[in-house]
């Protein structure tokens, strides 16, 4: 097990290193510097600014410094917010994004499992079709359209929730709903398919032949086996949520990481873009690792050999 984790962490480090390297050189290829943000500077001031960002060094030196900084958790200094380390920007903005992401993931998955379960039990019944339709709409319609609808009807028209911004718990509700639709639809669909397959398998017949009640069949024997593979779609769901935060935070003016990313792109703040890109990549890789480990823990059939699993 330990060997497996080490191997995975090693791969994770390589992936992040590649992303860091590629994004570093890509950004170097681009026009734009802190000077393009604060452009009314004298020659002398410009030199000071360039010195501050270490931009007078040759590029290989900059690269080594950058990577060395990364290892120590230093993501550089933002162009946009003078003198502010990118790490601080992320720290200041991570709260709202995490709240939204966690709420959407938890509520979305739980609701999705419920829908999927109900659909599988009433196979080909009205509830099955209803929940299938919800799943198709949820996976098909882009989240920013849902967000727009929610904002328009629930906030502007019926004034049930704040239209935008951040502060009270009410502010989290609409963005959370807009975000959770995707994980909900995915898990509903997945749970339904898996559950139908499990309910048709031989060991369910064995359990029935033992006289296990319908409740026991569904929850004790069925659901557990159907939910284990659900872990595998948490990865795509996490990506969906990250994509979602970029637009949803924008629409609801939530001061989170996604909103910061879009702003940084608009003002060409390269250190922040790179920092956030790496942060997204780190989150993603870490989530995948946790999921794989979780899978090993909950599925007794998987035994690790240290190699391919």
């Amino acid at each position: 097990m330990l060997r497996y984790i080490l191997k995975r962490v090693f791969y994770m480090a390589i992936t992040l290193f590649i992303i860091a390297t590629v994004s570093f050189f890509l950004m170097k290829m681009l026009p734009g510097s802190p000077l393009s943000v604060e452009n009314k500077l004298s020659e002398a001031q410009q030199t000071i600014v360039l010195e501050k960002y270490g931009l007078n060094d040759p590029i290989p030196v900059q690269y080594v410094k950058y990577i060395a900084g990364l290892v120590q958790g230093d993501l550089g200094i933002s162009f946009q917010f003078d003198n502010t380390p990118v790490t601080d920007i992320i720290m200041a903005r991570i709260g709202p994004s995490m709240v939204l992401g966690a709420q959407a993931l938890v509520f979305g998955t739980v609701l999705g499992i419920l829908f999927g379960l109900v659909a599988a039990i009433s196979h080909n019944g009205v509830l099955d079709y209803t929940s299938t339709i919800i799943a198709v709409l949820g996976t098909s319609i882009p989240s920013f359209i849902f967000a727009g609808l929610l904002q328009w009807y629930l906030a502007v028209k019926f004034e049930m929730f704040p239209v935008a911004l951040w502060g009270t718990y009410e502010h989290t509700i609409l963005p959370t709903i807009a975000l959770l639709i995707f994980p909900m639809a995915i898990s509903a669909r997945f749970t339904r398919t898996e559950m139908l397959e499990v309910l048709g398998s031989d060991f369910i017949t064995t359990a029935r032949a033992k006289g296990v009640t319908e409740f026991g069949i569904i929850f004790k024997h069925g659901l557990r086996n159907a939910l284990i593979p659900l872990v595998t779609v948490v990865g795509p769901m996490a990506v969906g949520l990250m994509t979602g935060t970029l637009v949803i935070e924008q629409i609801f003016a939530v001061p989170g990481i996604g909103e910061q990313f879009v702003t940084s792109v608009m003002v060409v703040d390269y250190p922040t873009i790179m920092g956030l890109t790496l942060f997204f990549a780190f989150l993603f890789v870490a989530i995948i690792l946790v999921i794989d480990l979780l899978y090993v823990l909950i599925d007794p059939r998987i035994r690790l050999t240290g190699g391919e699993s």
């Binding site: 060991f203 017949t205 064995t206 029935r208 296990v212 009640t213 024997h221 007794p300």
Partner: protein, 350 residues
């Protein structure tokens, strides 16, 4: 002896997209306490469906009991509700399935799977059920039962798993044990072990066994009586000696003739030409007629009734009609029958 289980004119159909598949068409048989009835036939003959219907384990909503009675200790359980059946399943009647690789829940410890029935039907506490589960594992011949109890099915070998499935089925000392091809998926050596195990247990508990198989070697080994099924019907039923030494139905002749034996090396195996009929539109008359080299004109017009051969032996073939031309089984099958008689049941296991 009393009839423990009596099936009368049972018909089962499956509703598919193409129409109604009549998998079982009017099957009648009975089983007594301590007796083993073997049901043999090709795949698709309806033998497995029949036994699933007994326990109402047909896939819902496609599979349905169309008509007939299933009398268990005198009560018709064919129309029992799911709730009523849950009290019978596992307690009075239980089942061993064909494929031990898929018939255990992969994410539940084997011990828990055995204890489940005990806790439900015998109101045992977990500790008591656990002790009983250890006893059961010991009884079915699994070494280190304490350790095995806490393992998952994937940690068991195929033969071990089937023993565990048998242990689950036997947990509450059922009166009827239905075994649906319990040895088909196993190695020959393991097959014999499982069969011996079932016979031993039957001796101890005096339960009735309905044993489904397509392997006549296994039948000779375990059965007291044999029912031969073809196209959803029983075409011949009788004591094991009667079926092996004095078969009357041409289909039974075919089955016996196609069974390899040790001393049949120099002669060709007898084969039944063709394949079973499509049960979506069962043929008119005798379903076996198109493949039957002894078919009569009447077979294409009318279904043969059950003709009595002896008090315990019946067969559905027009050849048994008193006016029918006398036909003899093919020579190779005849020699085979004599072979059975001379070797008796010594070669049952190979």
């Amino acid at each position: 002896m009393s009839k423990l289980l009596e099936v009368k004119d049972l018909s089962v159909s499956f509703n598919t997209y193409s129409g109604e598949v009549q998998a079982v068409r009017g099957v009648s048989f009975d089983v007594e306490k301590g007796e083993t009835l073997a049901i043999v036939g090709e795949s698709g003959s309806g033998k497995s469906v029949t036994t699933k219907a007994l326990m109402q384990l047909l896939p819902k909503p496609q599979g349905q009991i169309k008509s007939g009675e299933i009398l268990f200790e005198g009560n018709d359980i064919a129309n029992y509700s799911n709730k009523q059946m849950q009290k019978i399943r596992g307690k009075d009647m239980s089942m061993v399935f064909q494929d031990p690789m898929t018939s255990l829940n992969p994410t539940m410890k084997v011990g828990n799977q055995i204890m489940e029935g005990l806790i439900k039907h015998r109101n045992m506490g977990r500790g008591e059920a656990k002790q009983k589960a250890i006893d059961l594992l010991e009884q079915v011949g699994i070494p280190h039962p304490m350790l095995r109890l806490n393992q998952y099915p994937h940690q068991f070998s195929g033969g071990m798993r089937q023993r565990a499935v048998v242990a689950i089925a036997l947990a509450c000392n059922p009166k009827v044990l239905i075994a649906d091809e319990p040895t088909t998926a196993l190695d020959v050596t393991i097959q014999a072990q499982i069969l011996d195990l079932m016979k031993d247990i039957q001796r101890e508990t005096d339960s009735a066994i309905v044993f489904i198989t397509h392997d006549l070697g296994v039948v000779a080994n375990v059965a007291d009586r044999v029912a031969v099924m073809y196209a959803g019907k029983i075409v011949e039923i009788g004591k094991v000696d009667e079926i092996f030494y004095n078969p009357k139905h041409p289909y039974t002749w075919g089955l016996l003739g196609s069974m390899p034996t040790l001393d049949s090396e120099e002669e060709e195996l007898f084969t039944i030409p063709g394949s079973p009929p499509d049960m979506l539109n069962p043929p008119k008359g005798d379903a076996f007629a198109p493949r039957n080299e002894f078919a009569l004109e009447i077979d294409t017009k009318m279904e043969p009734p059950m003709f009595k051969v002896s008090d315990t032996h019946y067969a559905a073939s027009w050849l048994l009609h008193k006016d029918a031309p006398k036909m003899e089984p093919p020579a190779s099958v005849k020699r085979r029958m004599q072979g059975f008689a001379s070797t008796d049941d010594k070669d049952g296991e190979e």
